[in-house]
């Protein structure tokens, strides 16, 4: 049986797809058979971030409607054998995701995979509720900014009342906070909410802090999950988050301003 992880936030543009791609790749690199599903019907982007946009033939909705088999729709990642991508449909209505249809696909995926990562669309509409409904774990991606924190809290309320686990009175979804676009310099200046501030407000287990990083845009430009840029701060931070998700004790990094060395000061780095 696979563990189903939803990557959610409520607010758009905080890094859900970047996080989905990075966590899925990180889990797969460690040898876990992982599928990552794009739930953003009509605005699919995961395929672009994963760099497989030209290999999309069938999509999630085709599978739900029985127009293609799961094996036909799943795209195997070229960099990692244990990773598969199920793209969203670009043309359909988001109502095409039915609770039964999504449940059936997840059930079938569960047979052959260890982890299923669900990349939720923004908002609290149908696509987002479908992405979280069957989840065992939730990663709430939050920026240290008021609207994002508020939306995350709203999302936590929905997770604890409208998921399958809530409806069947099962053990509640495990919820984790992933704070992204963190700028330690601005935190030090008192201009940005700190990790502690956000944790105090949301009271969630901290999965990781991803620093604001140029590596994220560079990675998405190239269609490479940023976790594969092992030299970058964001790549390393995602690597740590994957380790923590799997139960390892890893200290948090990149929470304070990185001191610049003489050469990077001189040449700009």
């Amino acid at each position: 049986m696979a563990r189903i992880i939803v990557i959610t936030s409520g607010k758009g543009g905080v890094g859900k797809t970047t996080t989905s791609a990075a966590l899925a790749m990180g889990l797969a690199q460690r040898g876990h058979r992982t599928a990552v599903i794009d739930f953003d019907v009509g605005l699919r982007n995961l395929d672009l971030i994963m760099g497989c946009e030209r290999r999309v033939v069938y999509d999630f909705v085709n599978v739900i409607n029985g127009e293609a088999s799961l094996n036909q729709a799943l795209i195997r990642d070229k960099r990692c054998d244990s990773l598969y991508i199920l793209p969203a449909s670009q043309t359909r209505d988001k109502e095409a995701l039915t609770k039964e249809g999504v449940g059936k696909v997840l059930e079938e995926l569960s047979q052959g995979f260890d982890f299923i990562v669900c990349d939720s669309p923004a908002g609290i509409e149908h696509g987002a509720t479908m992405a979280m409904y069957y989840a065992d774990d939730a990663v709430v991606v939050t920026n240290p900014e008021v609207s994002s924190v508020r939306d995350s809290d709203r999302m936590l309320g929905i997770l604890s009342s409208k998921s399958r686990r809530a409806e069947t009175n099962a053990e509640p979804i495990r919820e984790f906070l992933l704070l992204s676009r963190y700028d330690p310099a601005r935190v030090a200046n008192g201009e940005m909410l700190s990790v502690e501030d956000v944790q105090e407000i949301l009271s969630l287990d901290l999965l990781g802090v991803i620093p604001e990083s140029r590596a994220v845009l560079n990675a998405s430009n190239a269609g490479v999950p940023v976790i594969l840029d092992g030299e970058s701060d964001a790549g390393k931070a995602y690597g740590d988050a994957v380790a923590r998700y799997l139960g390892e004790q890893v200290p948090h990094r990149f929470l304070t301003v990185q001191k610049k060395g003489f050469f990077s000061r001189l040449f700009g780095g």
Binding site: G157, V187, L193
Partner: protein, 89 residues
């Protein structure tokens, strides 16, 4: 960072703490709303209708407050009767 930046940033210190304060109030409010039973507005309306049979009061005269503590739930009803009603009685 230049000397000027240093003074500028120390002057603007505190927007994060303002953000935190605002969020704490907002999130506490949102959460209390979330845990309210959904029948509250209807309950308030019906109570008001019953009271109106006997006394002339307006909507704002009845407030229904719901609080949840560790082991119990408190439903607080507050009805302000107008002066004229009291005089008549």
């Amino acid at each position: 960072m230049s000397l000027l930046d240093y003074f500028r940033s120390s002057r603007s210190k505190g927007t994060a703490s303002v953000a935190k304060e605002r969020l704490q109030i907002l999130v506490a409010h949102d959460r209390s709303e979330r845990h309210r039973p959904s029948y509250l507005p209807k309950l308030q309306r019906e109570i008001l209708d019953v009271i109106r049979k006997y006394v002339e009061v307006d909507m704002s005269a009845v407030s229904v407050n719901y609080e949840q503590e560790a082991s119990r739930e408190i439903l607080e009803l507050n009805i302000i009767l107008p002066d004229t009603a009291r005089n008549r009685a």
